[in-house]
């Protein structure tokens, strides 16, 4: 089981690297999906099968698809890819990389003191998850529902087109003026 964990971990890391350094938006998205699937495998290994399924269905299946649709709608094209390349100079990477390396070292320092073990031997069943969710955390669930409602309404409103207050017959004249 360990081996699976490590393989999936490596896959996730490599895929994420390809996401953040890619120039083509669609390719980057596909790599992101791969990364998410690897993380789902890790969930299985850690004894959370319900979550693994959830990850695949919602995250990789819904959210990423949404992103794909938007990218295709924006229709950025080859020019955008070239522009991406020109934006990603070496100088841009230096600062964040330094900071990130420092943080990474600190993470290693912090995490190395933990020596417990997770286990796949005792998976947490969906029933357990459901009982916990609608038990102590039911308030959270209701709030999440309201959050989703707000998100829908907000997204609809924000992405609406501006109302024109003149007929499209007069569109050209307006532009001339």
């Amino acid at each position: 089981m360990n081996v699976i964990f490590y393989i999936a971990a490596i896959v996730a890391i490599v895929a994420t690297l390809r996401v953040i350094t890619g120039t083509n938006a669609v390719h980057a998205l596909l790599y992101l999906i791969v990364s998410l699937l690897a993380v789902a495998v890790i969930f299985f290994v850690l004894g959370a099968p319900f979550l693994a399924a959830f990850e695949v269905i919602t995250y990789a299946g819904a959210i990423m698809v949404l992103l794909v649709f938007t990218i295709m709608m924006l229709n950025l094209g080859q020019a955008a890819a070239k522009q991406e390349k020109s934006w990603l100079t070496a100088g841009v990477w230096i600062g964040p990389c330094i900071l990130t390396v420092i943080l990474l070292l600190e993470f290693i320092y912090i995490f190395s003191s933990a020596d417990q073990y997770g286990s796949v031997l005792h998976p947490v069943s969906p029933r357990q998850v459901g009982e916990t969710m609608f038990g102590p955390y039911v308030l959270g669930v209701e709030l999440v529902a309201m959050l989703l409602m707000a998100a829908i309404v907000g997204a609809y409103h924000i992405s609406g087109e501006k109302q024109k207050n003149y007929h499209r017959f007069f569109e050209n004249q307006n532009e001339e003026i």
Binding site: L46, L88, F107, F111, S112, G118, S119, A155
Partner: protein, 102 residues
């Protein structure tokens, strides 16, 4: 069937988080930034699940579900904003949005 060392899992979450962070700080394309943010959220969730597996309880997994829902909401609103930005500025460069300056 040996168990997974906890610190390895947390470390993985940390690495993924940092990769997402680098992506946010480096990319100029708004869509890539959004993707990087998603990576970061996912990594945070992974950390929760690792914790849940250590205690063999469901709380961490419930947290992950909440995080997931929040990520979904965030992505939809974010994409709506990106669409609006593209409509107004005809560009997805984040540096275009600099009206809140000194």
């Amino acid at each position: 069937m040996s168990a997974v060392p906890l610190h390895m899992g947390l470390l993985l979450a940390g690495i993924l988080f940092l990769l997402g962070l680098v992506g946010v700080l480096t990319r100029r394309n708004v869509l890539f930034m959004l993707m990087s943010i998603e990576i970061m959220v996912n990594a945070a969730g992974l950390a929760f699940v690792v914790g849940a597996s250590r205690w063999m309880q469901a709380d961490g997994q419930v947290m992950f579900l909440f995080i997931l829902a929040m990520a979904a909401a965030e992505v939809s609103v974010g994409l709506a904003l990106i669409v609006q930005m593209h409509r107004q500025h005809k560009s997805v460069d984040i540096n275009v949005l600099e009206r809140l300056r000194d």
